[in-house]
Amino acid sequence: MDDPGQRFAAYVGREAEPPRVARYAVNEAMIRNWAEAHDDFNPVYVDRAAAKATGRPDVVCPPAMISTWVMAGYRRHREIHRLRAEGVTEDFAYSQLLSELDAAGFTSVVATDVEQDYHAELRPGDHVTCHFTIESISPIKQTALGRGCFITLLKRYLDQGDALLVEERFRLLRFDPTRKEGAA
């Protein structure tokens, strides 16, 4: 019988998708929206004088906000889901892997772990590019949510001068929600 786990393993080490370039530079409006949504009153995110009083040249971006800069945006999000529903696979490894996972019934996703090393703080005007690599894929296993496998993505975020800003490992579970063990 065909073993999907073996097919998934072939994706390990591959570039997940082309480098993702932020749609806009780091900016005060997005930072303020984020800080307010998290009820974070650290003044260095929104108050230039307060940031300068700490030795920084300008306001900075909250560390956990790094991934926000390279999110695809609403329109692209809808397109990705439309293509997925239509069974269209795009020409990069992660799209192909997701198609194979869908075909195996692993249609649901939940993030489980994240590790981030912050090498520098981001300031308004910085322009982020993120390089994604499929670092590892676990064997198929039974989890509390259902049968599935864990995928670890390595993300390297660089600034406009190719300086490393953040290195991240992001682990998610792709699972089959119809094959849950026991009650939840």
């Binding site: 984020w34 949504a37 003044p43 030795g55 956990a64 926000t68 649901s108 994240v114 090393d117 703080e121």
Partner: protein, 142 residues
């Protein structure tokens, strides 16, 4: 301005955060995360959970808030490692507790638990350092 003096074993003041639907949705959208499990209860149920749940990025952002509320604006977080447990649903209250577990020069590592009534939502190790001493070799070029 500086970070609080501390020794290993010191506890951070706990922080209780009531989590309503607006917080979970608002923070997901502030991070440009349009996954339906973070805003659409019907789709969340189709995907195997009883309600929408907090995104990992929101958990990470609330951890930033918890740590720098304690360490102050002159500090910066240099590393975070977090693992999720039970989800945060609308109506939950998450309580953060933290304990200093490592000291390395000026850098302080804190182990944090964020728990709701059903168990531990997140276990994290966060390292924070004074902003003027926290530049890594890779970041020094900037």
């Amino acid at each position: 301005m500086s970070m609080p003096r501390c020794t290993i074993g010191d506890a951070l003041p706990p922080l209780e955060i009531p989590l309503d639907r607006t917080l979970i949705v608002g923070a997901a959208i502030a991070s440009q995360d349009f996954e339906d499990v973070h805003h659409d209860p019907g789709k969340a149920r189709d995907r195997g959970t009883p309600d929408i749940f907090m995104s990992i990025n929101t958990t990470n952002g609330l951890l930033d808030r918890y740590i720098t509320d304690w360490s102050g604006p002159a500090s910066r977080i240099t590393r975070t490692s977090l693992r999720l447990g039970v989800p945060n649903f609308p109506g939950d209250t998450m309580t953060f507790t933290g304990e200093v577990t490592g000291l390395d020069g000026d850098a302080v590592t804190v182990r944090v638990h964020g728990s709701n009534a059903r168990g531990v939502h997140v276990t994290a190790q966060v390292t924070v350092a004074p902003v003027d001493s926290a530049v890594s070799p890779e970041g020094a070029a900037r």
